[in-house]
Subunit: 215 residues, 2 copies
């Protein structure tokens, strides 16, 4: 096995360090966050840090880097109190990655990247029309991460939209059926295929497959 | 599209709510966190919330639920100051899921689930021998999430170990080459396959594939 220490990391050029450290925590979620300014200008930006925080109440968190690109997203979320989370599919990956470009405030990423928006009745914030899973989220709180100046945004999940064929009987949503992708590092987009599901694990014996007999 | 509101979520039984809300944020990382008590008792538990926080310094975060199973992990991390993060592969999924069982404090998850540990010179905390990517992490801080009582643990990445064939020239680690999995919901394990990598996105034009000509 190859070993890299903090000293080795410091000696790497910036791009190599970014590539390696962004890869070593494992696969990441791929979401487009839709928001709108109080003047009505829509914004769309890709995030790979959206994480489940709890189910009752339904909460998620994600990380904002104030010094880098998606700062419009942060301003819009705080201004209007809401945002949308839209899953990236295999057909969206190139356009979704393009939303990370440092566009000036006047342009809409929806137009520049040719990702179609969809507005639902009574909701100001734009959704991504192609996304098979979409959430309306409400900003609740933020925790500044002192160690590197990031902000951890906490939000409640207010409404969930999804393609009905993705839903199993037990309300497990099969992301594979929506062609949802995951992210490897900064710029690698991957398509996961389901291997197995396992029963709730108990101390005696080994958890069983929910899909295969005798596994 | 199917629509689920917060009222619909409240009306669901607990397992259905857990299944749905755990699926709607997208694919999650699959990591086994190795730790040891100050008395020398090793512990291993699966986590799906490990998230990249920054590259310089190299930081990650993950979520602990004090009321649920992996509380030994938390105690050990605070007591000894260090822990390991080990990627789950397709061959590990059943045993990795079994680490989520509510074992009593006296047993070692390594033994109960037949996951081989590996101890490296000068490091007290156990690694997972089969994992193609392993990190030694140092506990830095914790942020209680007031909204649901979770704790967001912040740690620095001190040492990175990986199979050398996973490393590309630009230090992007290709997780696919290590058969690393991602998690869908509470109990679905998926194997991602690389679709594409894209160049750094700039405002003019569309980002290009790093792998394909003319994409």
């Amino acid at each position: 096995m190859r070993k890299i220490t903090t000293e080795d990391l410091k000696a790497l050029d910036k791009v190599s360090r970014l590539n390696l450290v962004n890869s070593v925590t494992g696969y990441k979620s791929a979401n487009l966050i839709g928001s709108i300014s109080k003047e009505g200008k829509p914004n769309l930006a890709i995030f790979s840090s959206v994480t489940h925080l709890g189910s009752d109440p339904a909460l998620l968190g994600f990380i904002i880097r104030p010094a880098t690109v998606p700062r419009d997203t942060y301003k819009n979320i705080v201004e209007t109190g809401y945002f949308t989370v839209n899953h990236v599919t295999e057909y969206l990956i190139q356009r979704a990655h393009q939303t990370s470009a440092n566009y000036n405030e006047e342009v809409s990423e929806f137009e520049e990247t040719q990702i179609a928006s969809e507005y639902l009745e009574g909701i100001l914030q734009p959704f991504v029309k192609e996304s098979p899973v979409r959430l309306l989220c409400k900003y609740l709180n933020e925790y500044p991460i002192e160690e590197n100046g990031c902000i951890h945004i906490i939000a409640s999940i207010e409404e969930i939209y999804f393609e009905n064929e993705m839903l199993n009987n037990d309300y497990w949503l099969q992301l594979e059926k929506g062609n949802v992708v995951s992210i490897n590092g900064l710029d690698g987009y991957c398509l996961p295929k389901l291997l197995d599901r396992f029963e709730y694990a108990r101390p005696n014996g080994m958890t069983k497959s929910m899909l295969k007999n005798g596994s």
